[in-house]
């Protein structure tokens, strides 16, 4: 009796589910099955597709398997050998990273500054301001993109019209302000290889992006104990010193994860690039996600698109690992 009930080593016991654990696994099973079917299976299938010459004819269930092409799709992407005009993978990748980075920096800085201003004691109508500045977030993305595209129209857009009115006050001819915001080929700033369309996109996305940053910052600001400011003031700290040594350290735990989230969201922000500029001029505002869509929807190169998506997965994984490390390194404010 005693011989068969020898104690199981603690290390081994961890892997044998107890009664409670077994119940938990049973409850989790449906979720695992659904996840496996709608998430993991497509992901694995996509990796398989990326090694094949998957075409339209292979979509039908029961159709013949697409030919295996090894790493050919990956090599074609890296070698810009896709017969798509203006396709340049590395240029697109760097633009995409810069696009996400520049947006997040502006959104966070603007969001925090406005939140600090709105947090001023005694400011009237705070609730109205907060309700108004959150409006851009609730407008459907395609409408945002369409409205901004129309506003940036060279001939009839509101931006050029406004500039023409203001310019008229200074006797500047209206022709000067027929700016082709979304298709101008000449870069507006010498030695900065970014087209004017990038700045138009940046403007639209800044309008769209700062409010939520401000909401997060407002929440964090309201959690800072007022005594800390009083103590700092008694120690003779200036307004800047109070902001730098009290406000920022308390904002950081809330803002940093949100900034990382914002980076990933902006990195994959489809609607502005696709509907506002359509990647113009000459593919210079194309993002990886819009290019992936074009590969499927316009080029019907399913195998290449799958390889493209695998690249995107690893790029975002790398960015997430780096940003997570940064987040851990800077998360502590009590150090």
């Amino acid at each position: 009796m005693t011989a068969v009930s020898a104690p199981i080593p603690a290390r081994k016991r961890r892997w044998l589910p107890g009664r409670d654990a077994r119940t938990a696994y049973v409850y989790l099973l449906p979720a695992f099955l659904v996840m496996g079917l709608i998430t993991f299976y497509p992901l694995i299938y996509q990796v398989y597709m990326s090694f094949t010459d998957f075409q339209l004819r292979n979509l039908r269930i029961g159709s013949e398997a697409p030919p295996f092409v090894g790493f050919d799709n990956y090599i074609r992407i890296l070698g810009n050998n896709l017969s798509i005009p203006n396709f340049h993978f590395v240029r697109m990748l760097f633009f995409n990273i810069w696009w996400a980075f520049s947006n997040v920096v502006i959104h966070v800085v603007l969001g925090v500054l406005i939140a600090v201003m709105l947090n001023t004691p005694g400011l009237k109508f705070k609730r109205i301001y907060r309700a108004v500045y959150i409006l851009p977030v609730v407008i459907p993305p395609i409408i945002v993109a369409t409205v901004w595209r129309n506003m940036f129209d060279a001939d009839n857009g509101a931006i050029n019209n406004l500039l023409q009115i203001v310019g008229g006050l200074f006797a500047i001819p209206a022709e000067v302000f027929r700016i082709n915001w979304l298709r101008e080929v000449q870069d507006p700033i010498p030695f900065v290889p970014l087209p004017l369309a990038y700045f138009a996109l940046l403007t639209a996305n800044t309008w769209l992006g700062w409010p939520l940053n401000s909401v997060v910052a407002t929440g964090a600001l309201q959690s800072i104990p007022g005594e800390l400011y009083e103590a700092a003031e008694m120690d003779g700290a200036s307004a800047w010193q109070r902001f730098r040594n009290v406000t920022i350290p308390f904002l950081r735990p809330a803002m940093l994860p949100y900034a990382i989230y914002g980076f990933v969201i902006t990195f994959n922000l489809f609607h502005l690039s696709y509907f506002m500029t359509a990647g113009q001029p000459f593919g210079r505002t194309e993002l990886l996600v819009t290019q992936a869509f074009r590969l499927v929807n316009e080029q019907r190169q399913y195998g290449v698109a799958a390889a493209f998506a695998v690249f995107m997965f690893f790029i975002l994984l790398g960015i997430t690992i780096v940003t997570n490390k940064l987040a851990r390194a800077t998360a502590r404010y009590d150090a």
Binding site: R57, R60, P85, E298
Partner: protein
């Protein structure tokens, strides 16, 4: 009592469900669905009274993408067809033209999609090669006797019919006859009039307006491919055509990257002359009181040759009843139906027996007659992107036309393995 009610509701629901599932097949006469009825000998000749159509069909169209008059014509013909065939149910879905082929191709590739749809032969070759549309060669034998040779040829890929032809199309030069009394007949006349400020001309440019500008190529002696499908656009003519368009732009003509901007400019009177197709006639007639159409001006090498195409009904290979779909398409394209589209929507009829009374429609019929039939070879798939990009470079960056066309041609040939 409650239980009885539930049971009754359940039985009623099941009955409705069964009836709904049954509708598509039961109302179709077995004779018309049987494979043997597809054989040409079992088909009634066109001259005999056609049998009533029965069954259910789903069709797609993009007729609101134009001026809207095509939709009116479609509804009128559909109403007549429904009245003639009370056992026929037709579900109509409009799909924006820009999405039409992608949506259909993806759906059809997975065995879904409508029973049939109407569209130009823009990607007929691709769809036929991919097996996305039904080979109609046997089913249309002896059925297209009244259809012009141009329309029949435009419905074929590798000698086989894949479409029931409805109308023809090619772009021409719309002008406002109030401001342009004599439309320019040559490229030199057009350039001089634009330079002098007598004509405010606008064209569809950018990377998407390639189809609209294809006609200029022949006027300067250019052509796209040789018999082997190798791009030869870099061997003279095409760069001259683009150099001319750049000169025209320099002189004051506008090239719009967005089609709507050009169309709206013509409608609101800020443009006197544009190049566009017959699908837009209805919209222009509403706003331009004295509308005229002329061929695209001839160049130093001869007349312009716009790309001519054929609109027709495509049948989905996955349709439950191919014979019904073909019979319906033939009814939608018979002489009576085509007359409605000609009169209401300015279509250029595929049927040779229809006389055109409207001078605008006749103008486009002339453009079609001199047009260059759209090739259906696989090599054309790599034409649009590369040459659209070249056109945009010339018109928007001032790039050298010879260099831009040479690059586009070389990339097209590389992609085609030439």
């Amino acid at each position: 009592m409650k239980r009885h009610l539930r049971l009754a509701a359940l039985v009623a629901g099941a009955a409705i469900l069964l009836a709904a599932c049954n509708t598509g097949t039961a109302t179709t006469a077995p004779e018309s669905t049987a494979p043997e009825s597809m054989a040409p000998e079992s088909m009634a000749p066109e001259s005999q009274a056609p049998a009533a159509l029965s069954g259910q069909l789903t069709l797609w169209h993009s007729y609101s993408s134009g001026a809207g008059t095509e939709l009116d014509a479609l509804n009128e013909v559909l109403e007549a067809v429904r009245a003639e065939n009370p056992d026929l149910t037709v579900d109509v879905l409009e799909v924006p033209f820009n999405d039409l082929f992608n949506k259909y191709n993806t759906d059809a590739a997975t065995g879904a999609g409508p029973d049939l749809f109407i569209a130009p032969n823009d990607s007929l070759g691709f769809q036929a090669r991919e097996g996305l549309i039904l080979d109609l060669d046997a089913m249309l034998a002896d059925k297209l006797g009244d259809i012009t040779e141009t329309a029949v040829n435009g419905s074929k890929v590798d000698g086989k019919l894949y479409m029931v032809p409805e109308s023809l199309k090619a772009v021409g030069m719309f002008y406002n006859a109030d401001t342009v009394t004599t439309p320019p007949a040559t490229t030199d006349e057009l350039l001089a009039a634009v330079e002098a400020g007598d004509i405010k001309a606008g064209f569809f440019g950018g990377n998407n307006g390639l189809y609209h500008n294809f006609g200029w190529w022949a006027a300067f002696g250019g052509s796209l491919m040789d018999d082997t499908g190798t791009c030869v656009a870099d061997q003279g003519g095409v760069p001259d055509a683009y150099a001319y368009l750049a000169e025209l732009q320099e002189a004051g003509a506008q090239f719009f990257p967005n089609y709507d901007d050009m169309a709206n400019g013509f409608k609101d009177g800020s443009l006197d002359l544009i190049v566009d197709g017959p699908w837009a006639t209805g919209g222009y007639k509403e706003t331009v009181a004295n509308l005229g159409v002329a061929p695209i001006p001839a160049g130093p090498s001869g007349p312009a040759q716009p790309l001519s195409g054929v609109d027709g009904w495509y049948i989905n290979p996955s349709t439950a009843d191919p014979q019904l779909a073909v019979d319906f398409a033939l009814r939608m394209t018979n002489q009576e139906a085509q007359q409605v589209f000609v009169d209401k929507a300015g279509h250029i009829p595929a049927n040779a027996n229809i006389t055109i009374s409207d001078p605008i429609t006749q103008g486009f019929a002339d453009a079609v007659a001199t047009g260059f039939p759209r090739p259906q070879v696989a090599e054309l798939d790599n034409f649009w992107g590369n040459f659209g990009n070249a056109q945009q470079q010339v018109l928007e960056t001032g790039a050298d036309a010879t260099e831009a066309i040479a690059t586009a041609c070389s990339e097209m040939n590389t992609a085609n393995g030439k």
